[in-house]
């Protein structure tokens, strides 16, 4: 033995109050999958990529999958060692320290909130479309905002009721939607066959176009890391959370590759290069199919919002516990054992922004694109910091290896290229998006400075997680007792 260290365990968990160690693997996976919303994404984002760039979808999505797998490979070792309740925020804190953690935390909060808004907005839009398809011609300007507010209220109720109920709902919804879309593709392929003519090479690899396409495609994967916000509530979190983080990008990636290959090689040659409609629009051959697809997308986005807000509430909950945010946010419902104050505080803006956008008459497609792109900044920012934190965290606990440093270096460089590229392109396209994210991050910097002056004790506490407590070591009484 080289050095003697004083080993210590906390007498009680700093994040006590949540229902500890209850969710089985299926529920943890459900959280990760729902936050990604594969059904909603595979029917919307490929079209968005096509419209913006016209590059080969399969190539763009394969590259995006590569970037996301790098991030997952960086996040996984941390989830094996520490059961976080606030996702990447706590890992950044343990690796890079409190200041980057608060910045990364706000970046993640921004991402989760924006995806929550996206989900709420999409629920309204697609429900409205589905209703119109069946001939219920209500004024969309009224129905959509009301649907959004109602959906947000249902989400809040489900989340306060308990994360378990929410996760179950989400998994069923997502599986049904994915199954339906796959069946539709299968049916189309069986009826129409693969076009004999080789597809025209899509606008031969302009690197700039490809960069945009990759950035947009990454948006299709974000959310998988949100499984790490269930570290306190999952059963055997140090086994189940890493498993969810490993499999979610792989599984959704496989699904996307099928969907974009279908779009690229079956639909596109048939419809001509100028027709770049969404997969679903091309598949929707009859009103009843169109109705079913719209319902699928709406439910998938509902699940997505639910999962993102579940993660959001837990980050805010931890910030409340640490004193980084007002302590009230760190309260847990005594009976339900959910972070109800954080949920109730997060919901009004998440419901109000999409409702306001709908009332203002912003076109659905445009609003969705903007919200998704904007959330992408939040996610990428937190991913970047988390990947940088990984080897430092491992080094701190004496388990870093040369491979960890190399992996992090590659991941951080790749993400930096993506973030810089995204910012540069966005500044040329729609400067208000990076400006808004920049403003939020400036606010985060101001928050850190304020914490430094006024609440140094809170900054020192940053990174609370679900620690080992005596009950994890030994049963106080014999097992049979």
């Amino acid at each position: 033995m080289a050095t003697m260290q004083v080993a210590r365990i906390a007498s009680r968990s700093p994040v006590r109050g949540l229902r500890r160690r209850r969710l089985p693997f299926a529920d943890v996976l459900a959280q990760a999958v729902a936050a990604v919303a594969p059904a909603g994404v595979m029917s919307t984002i490929p079209a968005l990529v096509l419209r913006a760039t016209g590059v080969n979808l399969l190539l763009a999505f394969s590259l995006a999958l590569g970037v996301v797998l790098l991030v997952a490979a960086c996040v996984r070792p941390m989830t094996q060692r520490m059961s976080s309740v606030s996702g990447l925020y706590a890992y950044i804190a343990k690796g890079l320290g409190p200041v980057p953690a608060v910045l990364g935390g706000w970046s993640a909060v921004f991402g989760y909130a924006l995806i929550g808004m996206t989900g709420v907005f999409a629920v309204g839009v697609y429900t409205g479309r589905a209703l119109r398809t069946v001939g219920w011609a209500a004024p969309g300007a009224v129905v959509a905002p009301l649907t959004m507010l109602a959906a947000a209220a249902v989400m809040a109720a489900l989340m306060i009721r308990g994360v378990r109920v929410a996760a179950r709902v989400v998994l069923v919804v997502e599986c049904v939607a994915i199954g339906f879309l796959l069946a539709l593709m299968w049916w189309y392929l069986a009826a129409e066959g693969v076009p004999a003519a080789a597809p025209a090479p899509a606008s031969a690899a302009d690197p700039r176009q490809l960069a945009v396409a990759v950035i947009l495609s990454i948006g299709a994967f974000v959310g998988f890391e949100s499984a790490s916000t269930l570290g306190g509530e999952a059963r055997r979190p140090l086994a189940t959370v890493p498993r969810a983080i490993r499999w979610t990008p792989l599984a959704t990636g496989a699904l996307y590759l099928v969907a974009v290959a279908f779009q690229e090689y079956v639909l596109r040659p048939r419809r001509g290069p100028e027709d770049q409609g969404a997969l679903v629009e091309l598949l929707a051959t009859s009103p009843s199919v169109a109705f079913a697809i719209d319902v699928c997308i709406a439910t998938s986005f509902f699940a997505c919002a639910l999962a993102s807000l579940t993660a959001l509430a837990r980050v805010l909950f931890c910030m409340g516990r640490e004193g980084v945010l007002p302590g009230r946010l760190g309260a847990a419902h005594v009976k339900r054992r959910t972070p109800h104050v954080a949920i109730l505080l997060a919901m009004p803006p998440v419901a109000a922004v999409p409702a306001a956008l709908a009332l203002a008459g912003v076109p659905g497609g445009q609003a969705l694109t903007d919200l998704i792109l904007l959330s992408g900044f939040g996610y990428l920012g937190s991913y970047l910091l988390a990947c940088a934190a990984m080897p430092l965290l491992l080094h701190r606990i004496g388990e870093a290896r040369r491979r960890s440093w190399a992996l992090a270096a590659v991941a951080v460089t790749t993400l930096a290229v993506v973030v810089v590229g995204a910012t540069a392109l966005q500044l040329a396209w729609a400067p208000h998006l990076p400006a808004l994210y920049g403003a939020v991050m400036l606010g985060a910097v101001a928050h850190v400075l304020w914490l430094r002056r006024r609440r140094p004790w809170a900054l020192a506490r940053v990174g609370v997680y679900d620690e080992t407590v005596p009950g994890d070591l030994l049963d106080p009484r014999p097992a049979g007792a």
Binding site: M1, A2, Q5, V6, A7, R8, I9, A10, P77, Q80, R81, M82, K94, R236, L238, A239, T240, P242, R396, I397, G398, E399, R401, E467, T468, G471, D472, L473, L474, D475, R477, P478, A479, G480, A481
Partner: protein, 243 residues
């Protein structure tokens, strides 16, 4: 005393658990590597796998390791029961009063451990006693407080003697009777010609921690049954001395 690197993954994992146990609570990954002379990569992988499955836990600073609940269960189910001097005196006093064998058994999850055996009346069929819970009085007492015994103890109810209850539904009825009586008996079910009476130790309202058993020839079962109240009283007196 360092264990040489084992050859199979399972053996490696067990070696890591053993190393953490021997190095003491808070042992670090490096210490385990040095102790086992195994490559860090394998040790880190094994440690994280074991922490995931809760055989090990990490200390608050994430540096160190200790035995987790799953490993603790392994230890708890085989560690020999402790019988205090005061408890032994009480048991011996009871032995002097009755002319039967008196044993104290401890319940460990779904198994029985002999805590104190009567030297003058050695336990017969010791293996059957601990394995065939459905055939003995203390075993049935343990099953009676384990509602999910059917799923947890899979396998047929072995016929040890003509008297053994082998029908699950019949056994369920027997267990209901035991719960109502707070007492279990077996007459020729474990060993032909032997009878046993078991009174729960501790756990008036919840689970008992063990059983006080009085055994004798089956033809004197009525005398044994007559001792029920006394056995119950002794068992009650033993509870605070043992647990």
């Amino acid at each position: 005393m360092n264990a040489p690197a084992a050859r199979t993954p399972t053996a490696n994992a067990m070696a890591v658990v053993r190393a953490v146990a021997l190095l003491g609570f808070g042992a670090t990954a490096r210490e385990v590597c040095a102790y086992l002379r195994m490559p860090p990569a394998s040790v880190y992988r094994i440690l994280n796998g074991l922490v995931g499955d809760e055989y090990l836990v990490r200390t608050g600073d994430l540096h160190g390791f200790g035995l987790g609940r799953a490993a603790a269960e392994l230890v708890q189910t085989i560690a020999p029961p402790v019988v205090t001097t005061a408890a032994r005196d009480a048991i011996d006093a009871f032995r002097v009063r009755v002319r039967f064998g008196v044993h104290v058994l401890e319940f460990r999850d779904l198994s029985l451990l002999v805590a104190d055996e009567d030297a003058d009346h050695p336990i017969q069929a010791r293996v059957e006693l601990t394995r065939a819970l459905h055939a003995s009085a203390p075993g049935k007492l343990l099953l009676a407080q384990t509602p999910d015994w059917r799923t947890r103890r899979a396998g047929a109810l072995t016929q040890l003697t003509p008297g053994t209850i082998t029908d699950p539904d019949a056994l369920e009825r027997e267990l209901a009777g035991i719960r109502a009586a707070g007492m279990a008996t077996d007459v020729g079910e474990l060993v032909a010609g032997r009878a046993c009476l078991a009174a729960p130790i501790g756990g008036d309202r919840e689970r008992a921690h063990g059983a006080l058993c009085v055994t004798g020839p089956a033809e004197r079962a009525d005398v044994l049954t007559g001792l029920a109240d006394e056995a119950r009283a002794v068992a009650r007196a033993l509870a605070p001395l043992l647990y």
